[in-house]
Symmetry: C2
Subunit: 315 residues, 2 copies
């Protein structure tokens, strides 16, 4: 029994609609042939600010009562979530305070500033980030939003799979990459709420396989200095999303760095779309599980498309 109702998810989706794209769903005859399956790609790389994170950030801010919302929101991130919070807050005319390590690349700082976020720099440690966030909260009354371990973020993320299922209600599998767990938890809730027998499956880098190990051990495992091209997937699960993943995710397939790069190349070369390595992890997983998905209808959430074009893994 899902902890969430259709009506609640539909209300959330409706409230978000003015601020997000219902992103296109693309297919590739070549990839279908390789997989011997029907594969539907939900292209969150085409989402506003270039990633599904826009959905979670937006829903988290929309969920705040007006009295709290006006004081703004704060997060610490050097990646997509900082941009997502900045843009979502700007759309809702709410201040966004972004704590970033002083070592963050200038291009990422500029992206946050471009979306209207107010950056506070700190030394590059988790303690400094948390302390700086707390100082801002104390000073402004802003609300902290966690990138993945926040129920409103998870439910916002769920709307990507909802839109996919709305167009293709008869999917057998839905796959997405697993990083902090916010996307796959939301995806699993949507799949469980809106389908009868579809399964949710994750793809995870072998070099950052904390979620795979967590599923086996039954407790949240961590990565020690993980090295993967899928840099959005280095983070660990949280106490809110892990129980959802345990309950509603059927399994996780681990993929090597070479498998991630090959899948990424396939998406770029054959589908002519720019996706980040993390997105390719889900495709890499089904390319490894072709026996299991043979003849099936499979949905894949392509998480985003924010890459540094000067540092691509192609030769």
């Amino acid at each position: 029994m899902s902890p969430i109702t259709k009506e609640r998810l539909e209300t959330i989706h409706l409230r978000m609609l003015p601020f997000v794209h219902n992103t296109p769903i693309l297919t590739s005859a070549t990839i279908n042939r390789i997989c011997d399956a029907q594969v539907y790609f939900k292209c969150e790389n085409f989402q506003k600010m270039g990633a599904f994170k826009m959905r979670g950030a937006l829903n988290a801010i929309l969920s705040l009562p007006e009295s709290e919302r006006k004081n703004g929101v704060v997060t610490h991130s050097s990646g997509n979530f900082a941009q997502a919070v900045s843009l979502a807050a700007k759309n809702l005319q709410v201040p966004a305070y972004i704590v970033m390590p002083e070592t963050a690349p200038i291009v990422k700082k500029e992206a946050v500033l471009g979306y209207g976020g107010q950056i506070t720099e700190c030394t590059p440690t988790l303690e400094a980030r948390e302390q700086t966030s707390k100082t801002i909260m104390d000073r402004t009354g802003a609300t902290f939003i966690h990138p993945s371990n926040d129920m409103d973020v998870i439910l916002g993320n769920a709307t990507a799979a909802m839109e996919l299922i709305e167009v293709h209600p008869d999917l057998d599998w839905v796959l997405c990459p697993v990083g902090g767990g916010g996307l796959i938890a939301g995806t699993a809730l949507a799949v469980n709420t809106f389908t009868d027998s579809c399964k949710t499956w994750g793809g995870e880098p072998l070099n950052a396989d904390d979620a795979y190990r967590s599923m086996i051990s039954g407790k949240i495992e961590t990565n020690t200095n993980p090295q993967t091209i899928a840099d959005g997937l280095k983070t660990q699960l949280g106490h809110l999303n892990f129980p959802i993943i345990q309950e509603y995710v059927s399994g996780i397939t681990r993929v090597s760095e070479t498998e991630i790069k090959n899948a990424m190349r396939l998406l770029w070369e054959r589908m002519k779309i720019v996706v980040e390595p993390s997105s390719a992890v889900a495709l890499a997983a089904i390319l490894k599980e072709t026996d299991a998905i043979k003849g099936k209808k499979v949905g894949i959430i392509l998480s985003g498309g924010n890459v540094d074009l000067g540092k691509l893994p192609f030769q």
Copy 2:
């Protein structure tokens, strides 16, 4: 008065529909803001085999009487058109003979073979290509198809703009890159046939500006050893497409190599799509003509997305 009727173009389009994609039309809030205009991108990079060339090749083969079609088709090309003829012929169960210089990259030969084309290699001169093509025609009875200076190819290419105009009938401008002239001639015919006041405009590399000079001199000019990243645009106009261009194209804007690379980066980074440098030439042209298009509705035909990911111009 257009030399072509709506009915004829509609018949052509209908006949092609089972074999081509009605490609998506994308927009970018960022690019609209930069241009202060509404820009609609017709994404032929998502076309089958990755380029608009599929349309012209297909229509040329479809236009052959059955008695000729069964003998096959021949072309000499080392690029997209070789792949387009191969795939279109395969779909219609017609033999495709592709003459390629023995120096052509293996990856291009493999692409042609992958689409079912039969390759005959020759020395890398125009004379050898033409002689080899003629030998094949004599032996097999196959019909030669020129990549751009062929009326059926031009009319096939026209269907991309037709589909764009069908969705956005109130465009003020339609732009496309100018290479051999087959795309812009087809685009201009579609614009002239299906709109009252929309203008067709071209983008061309400054380093291969033969069409720009041809428009001024009134005769077909050539390029001498042109050096441009937009390698699909080095070819010259032909006696069939040049009169159409003279009559129906309002002008051509020339762009530098840096302008092409910047426009290409914008398409990749902001729209998250893989396009070839030639496609970026049309966007580069409007970025140079922002005064002229301010507040207007502008269509751009993105010609294709076949690039070598190992040799990208990004740093």
